[in-house]
Symmetry: D2
Subunit: 332 residues, 4 copies
């Protein structure tokens, strides 16, 4: 049983707190937040409340932190928690720059603590199966990825919400949903060589941009075509095309009211096959994988070099969205 403090009790922090109720692997024993209203929530959920991050990470009764804080705070908080010998689960994006993610990973490794990241899509059963098929060669040589994660949940946020700010979301939809797709692409196709991204405000009052399209070229020569829109009804799609066949995962509904997925596989010389997946709690599976890693029961399934490659590519997305040009990704 891993005893953790949750840092940040906004919308997402509270969802995680709810999910972990009664969990046999991970228990929230503390909470840190600046908002006084969070104190009541923490107490009702049996967590010691504090507004002092340092006090929490120095509490010997706490073994791990779960960071649900502003994107720009992730790096420093990871480093400080690692130095306090706490395992770290950090919401995505892990950082906003390659320099930061390198610092964060190094701090965890130097202090021998586990580092996990909130890329729950990796834990969705049909995505796990797609990765297995790809690794087993069932799709042949991988050629290209197409991915989309669009929604309109943020349209209702007040305009000054941090998730809509240029500082925390430099490429609009990229940090909200696109980063999940980039993570999957990196997981399948490896580090990214260059990026061409476009972010525009087209269909909403989100001045920071509501529509992103990106052509991501991996070092192995494959492309990922990434789409993330914040001003259209929900769609979720991740498809990979290979020389023997292609596979497509489609979300039936938004993860907040999940209805499961379909996995369509079209292999040369076989019938096209659609497998229906019932809903499964991928967020919880990710948190439990973190607890397993912290306890040394199993390595965390997302390798650190992929965490680094993802954020390195993210930095290039930010640059390209600003410059309008193809931007190289720094990888060494």
């Amino acid at each position: 049983m891993l005893k953790a403090a949750i840092i940040g009790l906004g919308w997402w922090g509270r969802i995680i707190a709810g999910l972990l109720k009664g969990n046999p692997k991970l228990r929230l024993v503390g909470a840190v937040a600046l908002d006084p209203a969070a104190e009541r929530f923490a107490i009702e959920h049996g967590m010691a409340f504090s507004n002092d991050f340092d006090a929490a990470i120095n509490d010997p009764g706490i073994e791990a932190v779960i960071l649900c804080t502003l994107h720009s705070q992730h790096c420093e908080q990871i480093v400080r928690a690692a130095h306090a010998k706490k395992h770290v689960f950090c919401e995505k994006p892990l950082s906003l720059s390659r320099a930061d993610v390198l610092k964060a990973v190094a701090a965890c490794n130097e202090n021998g603590v586990a580092l996990a990241v909130g890329h729950e899509k990796r834990f969705e059963p049909p995505i796990v199966e797609l990765f297995r098929m790809a690794a087993a060669g069932e799709l042949g040589t991988l050629l290209q990825v197409e991915a989309n994660f669009s929604q309109d949940k943020l349209l209702g946020l007040p305009p000054d919400n941090w998730r809509l700010s240029e500082k925390e979301a430099p490429a609009g939809p990229m940090t909200a949903t696109g980063i999940h797709l980039l993570d999957l692409s990196v997981g399948l196709l490896g580090p990214v060589d260059s990026v061409c991204a476009r972010v525009r405000q087209l269909g909403s009052a989100l001045t920071n941009g509501d529509t992103l399209g990106a052509l991501v070229t991996h070092k192995n020569g494959c492309n990922s075509l990434i789409s993330a829109i914040l001003a259209t009804p929900f769609d979720g799609r991740f498809a990979v095309y290979g020389s023997k066949g292609w596979a497509e995962v489609r979300d039936k509904a938004h993860p907040e009211a999940p209805q499961g997925w379909t996995l369509t596989v079209n292999s040369r010389d076989k019938q096209k096959q659609v497998t229906e997946y019932p809903p499964a709690n991928a967020v919880l599976a990710n948190l439990e994988a973190f607890a397993d890693a912290a306890a040394g029961r199993a390595p965390y399934p997302v390798p650190q070099e992929q965490m680094i490659a993802n954020i390195s590519a993210l930095e290039a997305v930010f640059k390209s969205a600003r410059s309008g040009q193809v931007e190289p990704v720094q990888n060494t």
Copy 2:
């Protein structure tokens, strides 16, 4: 009844000849080809055969030509046919450069003949419905297009087939299938401002490239993400995301053995709806629309400015595939 000569009797020319058998609007009365084996085919199908293009276009018994020739020949043949006062139906791509398409269109207009192009996807019933929905505002402000037309039919061609040559197919899959998607995008979102395209040889022996990904930015700010692969089993998809909803057309099977389409519409506050479309012959519908335009019964549904915008963008795709950079599209 429009009396036409078909120019080129290769794989596709013969398909068109078969489709037009007994057609009440358009009759093939002549054929021009260089391959002597084509003569037998022509005679069996009741067409006068010739290997002299000029003789055919100067034949007073012929009112129109259907060009199923090499891409690089299209422009000159259109111009010559137009000057001979023949209506022209030209296979895609209409030309390989903006300069050429301008010449071709001008020649037709100066000579008062109709010009049509082999973009049959425009005539597929679910695409017609998607265009109607978009025009009626049912999807709100349009935001982004995602499109894919992939197949492995060309893998069986001999390596020296002209369709696989750098000269006739400067960006590999782009002239084979991608051009259809670019045409639809231009039809929905208007002229293109810039293009970033990548063509690679990844999964086959097609040295001219088997995998294309392109980020196409339209002048109105929207992107189209275009995918065309020649080394994976068939997939056909055209989706448009708007501020009120999105619509996706999916081909159930390759057009050569058609099984129809699905049209999925996801509008905000409505149930997601999938409409099943039975197979329909879009190639024939296109040819008949050409006959109607030649006879003055109805304007040809693809406006000339879209023909021009499409080829102007195509030229930038070629450039970007070579340069690896974002390439502007010339529009004026």
Copy 3:
């Protein structure tokens, strides 16, 4: 706010209690059960507990009862509750014989109390839409119904569970799930004329029968083909065929872990259309309709003559399952 007592706190009674937590229309203030273990549940959920049915229905603080009791007790309990001027929501089947349902309905009418029945499928949004289409004539003259409600949830029950007994479940799967389908058929096609039913033990240890097939002939000449199996993985299907088209509702998953429904409509000369319905809580919608009826806000949507016709047909199903012959239904 209707104040109700729940009678019976077994598996289903507890589900209803959970659903009604915080409901603005209906509040459970009391519970009656014989099982002492139910007392703790009742108290935890803020209900006064009793093991005396008469005391509960004579409690002036209680306006309604919700019967989650043995099938064979329904009639007498409805009658007694009605005489005590309590509104009654009764789980299905309303009774096990036509004589009983007539008594129950009469008692409610004489005492001016509402009577509702636990046929939640009537409240599923795609079923509501199918009924609307049928009533509006969109399917033409109705011809035939096909319906299936199969599952394997009861396989885990101990063999002496009352739901598996000959007394409470005279035709095995009929009272478990088939009765819902019969209710829908009666709602669409009217009273039943005759029934031919077969119940067999084929694929499980359920000695009372695990497989039911029934040919139900309505007085208007239409048939309903009803299938209810307790020894196969879940399926839920309700289809009606008409002279202009047919409509089919399909459950995507068992109601206990709902994933929503599809409604497929195939009309002559239109494309086949599939509408996706997200999960909706039909059990709660039914309870709220009961509260509305009790308060006089709206009539209860299932007419009493359909309640009577359903149980009249049910009695013939029991007879036919025993006799192996076609059994007439008593309707007058």
Copy 4:
């Protein structure tokens, strides 16, 4: 190469003649029909024409007959052809009574000729797979079948067409489409013990009945619920429920304009899986299986005892449709 004469050149006979063009296993060399208009068709298709059945079956150049004649003529024609040592492919239904089918089978066996029947659904790839799964035990113990084959193609026939007559179609839709379903049920679940069938005229001018529902009880205790309607848009469905899982084949469109099938399999503890089958020519596969059987290359896949069991059950369907009661099937 089996040389055959086709007997009957109506709608269906002509379809078969078209299918067999250029077939390497079976060639139509003769045709027998009474309609003089059939002579031109026969000659155009390279068949010797005759209006004398006996002359044809005594022609030494003919090895087999394909009967596309009135249902009531099948038995006598099979017997006569068999005595003339011709192999027989007979359209469904093989006969209209058990006595007749026994005679027909006996005559073929006595004369050492192959007998095949036009139940092409047996040869549809997803049905072949469903039968394989059932035989391999993948669905567990089989429990119940649900089947539907409905259409509105016959609505356009003149009222005096023989297919609509009481003599040739004693239970309306049963001989048109229902017999295919009964054949599949017998193939899966074995001989039939009793039948309860209802045929009504509800939604059309087909005075012989447009709507059939039947509860078929097999000797092994399982039921088949069979639906066949002639006054509703097309539907085709064959589902079998077993103790480990169920499988459902669904036709995407009418066999006349085929779009393929889906096969849905729902096994306990596995994800539900939908396999898409492209169109395949099952009619031709059946004819080729006949040619293989005639040549001794492979046994005909439909065993004679199933042919007999099917017609024995058909006779009971006729009786039950008349009597309104459960009718036993004669099996010995």
